[in-house]
């Protein structure tokens, strides 16, 4: 089955950091889905009032991951400065959201899964950020 990353692999530009780029794009997309779904799962709980902070940070993290994945996936004429700051913002959004999700990991299986996806995304963004001169 063809995938979105196949389009990246056949793009006219193939930067030396391609593996890190694809890993970051995929991690940002997994994290955006995990976070928006975690917000919706929290909303379904009886004790939703206790989960406000988690919902809010989930929505923020999904927005930042979506923007970061989109910017990183573009290979034509990139500019480093805003991309690096955006990656840093994504690392911080994943850290903040992952920390709050991890606090509910025992109660909600989906928060445990979401926290792990946030950690993965944080690591992928960090690896790419370190590879950009």
């Amino acid at each position: 089955m063809p995938k979105g990353s196949d389009v990246l692999r056949t793009h006219p530009h193939q930067p030396s950091t391609m593996d890190l780029i694809i890993a970051t794009v995929e991690a940002c997309r997994e994290c955006a889905l995990a976070c928006s779904t975690c917000a919706d799962a929290c909303l379904a709980e009886q004790e939703v009032a206790e989960l406000r902070e988690c919902i809010r940070l989930n929505l923020d993290c999904a927005d930042v991951c979506t923007a970061t994945g989109a910017v990183v996936s573009r290979l034509t004429r990139p500019h480093r400065t805003p991309m690096k700051t955006l990656l840093q913002g994504c690392i911080e959004a994943c850290q903040t959201c992952g920390d709050v999700c991890a606090e509910h990991a025992r109660m909600h299986v989906y928060c445990k899964a979401c926290a792990e996806v946030c950690r993965d995304c944080q690591r992928a963004c960090h690896a790419l950020l370190n590879a950009i001169p």
Copy 2:
């Protein structure tokens, strides 16, 4: 490695159409990435002026797939009417974009890959649409 769909699998609501929902959410996400990357790849070509229609439809299809994936991934208190029309719009956006990409499939490997991802997304949305009463 944990994935975004693991959060869907552990969501408090588990509708009977869950497999179709996850297939649609994943297909919409693959298609959004394929289309936005295809737009960027077209932009990198010498003959970009010939590829305007492809770029525009790619950007539209990415926007519609992103919205459709987000709406379908929410399991708390869904309403059928707008979701069904959105799925229909996504089918049409994928059809239109896939047709134009398929015309360049011989010249550009990435357009071939993008056309296939569009077809997959179209099929997934269609299967879910048929399953909603």
Copy 3:
């Protein structure tokens, strides 16, 4: 102060429906903001558990309005079929969300404002849809 719509007014393509296009783009953007803010305001209420449906429909409506505004704002090589279905989906999302917000209009001033913005967006999309052959 320059505005986003000034870029539309000076675009190389100036379709005969330009006034309806700008009205729809602006209405979709107002509605996306109104709905995502209404979701956040509901989340801040003590009785957030009673407001799940409103929050969910708000997030859906914001996603659909964002996609619709983006697609309608592109003037280069448009295709009618998916655009018309997307406009129809936006009308239904605004109707559904506006109806639920209107039910809380007495209790929450922001739900009253959100319902009115949804109605405006519905009207703007309807007027444009009627003008597309």
Copy 4:
């Protein structure tokens, strides 16, 4: 006519920085529209091949402004660290995009308008960033 910002003005939380928040949310939304429309207008030009960098930075800036406007518009349980970095990233995206648009300001009226909207957004984000402790 009711507006999206009316929902912010009637939100249960009214932080002391509300005027700066609304100014930033509005500026980010104007900038997202200006940039995505500028990309589409560039795509319509004969010499689109000369405008690749402008198109790419426009799309990036639109994505970052959309995310920043969304995060800033949420008033329930905010976290400062990722929000401040995101505002900084938005300032840099607007600066980069505005600089490239300004280079074409004499040739394309819409690039002139877009550059001005980018500057406004940069100023609004800067003012809010300075007001966050």
